[in-house]
Each structure stands twice: as structure tokens, then as C-alpha cells.
């Protein structure tokens, strides 16, 4: 991260964004998508009469520095797709996504974790994925090692870790890098019990330090506690956008 990035206020602009997934490979994965899309009535056909799933339809959202967004909606509403579009992973079929500021997206707790490498090697590799300098790598290692409490396991391969140790390492790594814009899926809100309290504090510190948070979640208490604005997605469209109280009441009223 350069100094220039730091000085400018973070901003996310999503203009008229639509995401379409053509279904190419009729394998298990595609069939799952197809079934899910049929269930949520998002199937369509493109010009070449291929089956396409419309994950997002003409979404426009502006997010300013300081905002904490909660993305809610049922399964297949497009929450994760929207996170991926903002992160620049999926380039939209139409519309524009603009982001200003450093960005990190937490979707997969085991991202880039290699079971044959030691904890230390995994930390090092993750740091390289983020383009960290040598001193920053050292700091990352110290930070993650002390949080994950792996002690002598740090130099042993991941494959022999207990489930709890893997979770701690994954969580510590994911939350060690502080961006200006943080996009999160809700996986990290689960963890083993003893570790939860500490994880919570760490997560709160991370969230407090970022300028923009976009959180896709199902958990109402988390949204009420953290978010300043809630966006309700339904079948790829924005159904409601406003303060948590209003939107949540509407959502939970309808889903009951």
C-alpha cells in the first residue's frame, strides 16, 4: 500500500451493474447453479440461446468512507456475487464498479492454505499474495503466530493441525491485513467456543480500522451491532436500502 492510497478517502461506486453467468459446463457444479437459479427464478437466455443465470440485475449503490454496510437476503439473492463484483473478481456484463482505496475481500477461510506447508510457510505465502515487503512479512508472521497460539506447531505442516488450530490460523491470517475497504462473507462469525471471545475482539479492531465495511450475513444481531446501513437483496435486485432498523424490520417481517 502506498502513501497516496492512504491519503485519499475510500469510496465504492456501483453503477447499473448486472452480472450474468452463462452455464457452460454441465457438470455437478453447473447443475447446482442451475437448480438454485431455477428455484429463485433468475434463469434467462442470452442472444446465443445459452442458459444464463442473472446473479445481479442493474444494481446501483454508492458507499462513502465511514459507512458499514450489511448485505442481507436469502440464499441465492446475490450477496456473494455483489461482494465479488465490488472486489473486481467478476467483471460485470454491463455497468461500472469503481473503488478507491486498498481493498481486501474475505470469502474463503482456507484461501491459499496449503496442507503440506508449515504454518510459518503459509503465513509467508499469504503475505506475498498481498505483495507485502520483507519487514511487513516479519510483522505479519509475529502477529499471526501470537494470535493463533500455535507455539511449536508453527513449524509443522498444516495437515497435522487439529481443526481448531486450522481455524485459528485461517482466521488470524485473514484478519491480519488491514485494508481501507473490507468485504466479508459471514463464515468467520463461526469458530470454536474458547477462541470466539478473542476472535471477536480482533475482528472488531479490524472493522473499526477500515473505512468501509461490506458484510454479507444472515445474522441479525451482528447487523444491528455493526452496520450503519443495510441493503436487502432479493433475486439480484436491491429491494431496500436504509438504516438497519427500518430494513431489518421489513425483512424479518416478510420472511416470517
Amino acid at each position: 500500500m502506498t502513501m497516496a492510497d492512504r491519503k485519499r478517502a475510500a469510496r465504492v461506486t456501483v453503477e447499473n451493474v448486472s452480472l450474468r453467468f452463462p452455464l457452460y459446463h454441465a457438470g455437478a457444479r453447473s447443475l447446482k447453479k442451475l437448480a438454485l437459479a431455477a428455484a429463485t427464478r433468475r434463469l434467462g437466455r442470452d442472444s446465443g440461446s445459452r442458459v444464463v443465470v442473472e446473479a445481479l440485475k442493474e444494481i446501483s449503490i454508492g458507499i462513502a468512507s465511514g459507512e458499514r454496510i450489511g448485505l442481507i437476503g436469502g440464499n441465492g439473492a446475490g450477496k456473494t456475487s455483489l461482494l465479488r463484483a465490488i472486489a473486481g473478481i467478476y467483471e460485470p456484463a454491463s455497468g461500472v464498479v469503481k473503488t478507491c482505496g486498498s481493498l481486501n475481500v474475505l470469502l474463503d477461510p482456507n484461501l491459499g492454505m496449503n496442507p503440506d506447508l508449515t504454518g510459518r510457510e503459509n503465513i509467508f505465502l499469504r503475505g506475498l499474495y498481498h505483495g507485502l515487503s520483507r519487514p511487513a512479512l516479519r510483522r505479519l508472521e509475529d502477529d499471526v503466530a501470537s494470535f493463533a497460539e500455535l507455539a511449536e506447531f508453527l513449524d509443522l505442516p498444516l495437515r497435522i493441525y487439529s481443526a481448531g488450530m486450522s481455524v485459528r490460523l485461517g482466521f488470524a491470517l485473514a484478519t491480519a491485513i488491514q485494508p481501507q475497504i473490507l468485504l466479508m462473507d459471514e463464515w468467520f462469525l463461526a469458530g470454536d467456543a474458547a477462541f470466539l471471545e478473542k476472535a471477536h475482539t480482533r475482528l472488531e479492531d479490524l472493522v473499526r480500522g477500515v473505512e468501509i465495511l461490506v458484510l454479507a450475513t444472515h445474522q441479525e444481531p451482528v447487523v444491528r451491532k455493526w452496520c450503519t446501513r443495510v441493503i436487502l437483496l432479493d433475486q439480484g435486485r436491491v429491494r431496500a436500502d436504509g438504516p438497519p432498523g427500518d430494513v431489518l424490520d421489513e425483512y424479518f417481517l416478510r420472511s416470517r
Binding site: 452463462p22 465479488r84 475481500v105 499474495y129
Partner: protein, 263 residues
């Protein structure tokens, strides 16, 4: 330049900035492949050495060639061909294999292509050790000619890189391509002078100009054996490379925005 072209250049610039990651990933692939084995990547060297010894004895007899003439040619050709074939076949899985990373973080696609290229260069470096005893045994000292390996190597790196991007993208979109590529690579092994020498087919050697693998192999092989590669061979290698690079780049520019959807 179009917006898609600019985005592809940004992808390249971003990828170059992450060279330390590419380096670490390339080495990692090698290390993991041979984790727990005593010889490690030297197994590659050993298996190539055995192949050179076995084929050298057999085919020198079959083709009625002098061992001193044939074995160095075979050793250099095999080492180089293994690298070409490895790069071609592994190019197919460049993006498909990295699906979890591609779908969960923003990462220049060049990183994945660079990783495969580097991995193959490291394999080549290990295999090349076979040439040392062969050269000593048959008293071959390429001398200054060998310096021509450097520009040839540079051309290989550029070609291999773009091939990885293009084949990786095509194979992500059309899953049937990668078995086709493997069969083509196998076919190419037989129609390219790797285990045989161009002199053996007489007048038909002129047809070799149509084989892009021949020119690309020859610009590396000739200087290693201390012979000049010749202007014609270099011209043809450069021409084939030009088409490969231009075609691959055009393909990558078009495919890049859709790659995350395809993998």
C-alpha cells in the same frame, strides 16, 4: 488502445510487481512435488539420464550413426523437448487449477502463468545437468557459440509465457481442449527431430520449415552443440513466435474479463 487492452496491460504490470510471489510459488510447486523424496528434483535429472543412455545406445544402432555424433544430439534434444512439452501441456491447467484463488481474490492472471513458466524453467535447469557428463564424455565444448543460447532462451520465455495465458484461457472455457493439446504434443514429439536427425530424412528435411517446434528447438540446440543455428532458422523461429505472441495476446485481452466466470 481499447479498454480491454489497457486492462490486460494493467494485469501485466500488477503481475510483475508480485514477482516475489511468482518466484515463491514456482519453487513451492517443485518442492511439493518431491516432498519426502531423498533426491528431490534430481529424480528428473536421473530419469532423463537413464532415457538418454538407453535411447542413445538403441537408436545410434538403429540409425547407424556414430555414438559421438548422435548421443549429444539426443541428450540436448530430449532435455529441451521435455521442457517444451511440459510447458505446453501444463499451460492448459494454468487457470483451471487456480480456481479457488481466482474466485476469491483479485489477483493478476499473469501471476498464475508466471508460476507455471518458472516451474518449467526450474525443471529445465535440473534436467540440463544431464548435459554435463555427456559433453565431457564426448568432448564437446560449445565455446562462444553457446552465448546464442541467451537470446534463444529469452524468446522461449516470452513464447512460453504467452502460450500459458492463451492455452490456459482456452482450456478454462473449453474443457475438451486439454486432451487435444496432449495428443498434439505427443504427435509433435515424433514429427520433430528430437530422437532423429534432420539429415536422416533426406530431401524431405525441407518440410521441417513447416514445423514451428523444429525452429524453436533448433535455436537452442545448435548453440549448445557448438554449431551456428543459421539465419533461416532464426528467422523462422522469430516469425512463428510473432504469430504466437500476437495471437495469444489478442486472445488473452478478449478472455481476461470472462476468466473468473469460466474457471
Amino acid at each position: 488502445m481499447t479498454a480491454a487492452g489497457k486492462a490486460a496491460w494493467r494485469d501485466l504490470a500488477g503481475g510483475l510487481k508480485l514477482w516475489r510471489l511468482v518466484w515463491a510459488l514456482g519453487w513451492l510447486d517443485i518442492r511439493l512435488r518431491y516432498r519426502g523424496s531423498v533426491l528431490g528434483p534430481l529424480w528428473l535429472t536421473l530419469s532423463t539420464a537413464v532415457m538418454v543412455a538407453a535411447l542413445g545406445g538403441l537408436y545410434a544402432g538403429l540409425f547407424r550413426l556414430q555414438a559421438a555424433d548422435y548421443v549429444p544430439h539426443l541428450a540436448v534434444s530430449l532435455v529441451l523437448w521435455n521442457s517444451v512439452a511440459g510447458q505446453v501441456t501444463e499451460s492448459c491447467s494454468v487457470f483451471v487449477q487456480q480456481e479457488p484463488v481466482i474466485r476469491s481474490m483479485r489477483m493478476p492472471f499473469w501471476v498464475h502463468a508466471g508460476r507455471v513458466l518458472l516451474r518449467n524453467l526450474l525443471v529445465l535447469a535440473h534436467n540440463a545437468l544431464v548435459l554435463v557428463p555427456v559433453f565431457l564424455l564426448f568432448g564437446i565444448f560449445p565455446g562462444v557459440q553457446a552465448l546464442l543460447v541467451l537470446p534463444a532462451m529469452a524468446l522461449w520465455v516470452v513464447d512460453g509465457f504467452l502460450l500459458a495465458l492463451a492455452l490456459g484461457a482456452i482450456c478454462a472455457r473449453f474443457r475438451d481442449i486439454s486432451p487435444i493439446v496432449s495428443s498434439v504434443a505427443q504427435l509433435a514429439f515424433f514429427v520433430t527431430p528430437v530422437i532423429w536427425k534432420p539429415e536422416l530424412i533426406g530431401a524431405r528435411a525441407a518440410l521441417l520449415a513447416l514445423n514451428p517446434f523444429h525452429a524453436l528447438l533448433e535455436i537452442m540446440r545448435a548453440p549448445l552443440l557448438g554449431e551456428p543455428a543459421g539465419v533461416a532458422v532464426w528467422a523462422s523461429a522469430l516469425a512463428y513466435s510473432f504469430f504466437l505472441v500476437a495471437g495469444s495476446w489478442a486472445l488473452f485481452v478478449r478472455a481476461r474479463p470472462r476468466l473468473a466466470y469460466w474457471v
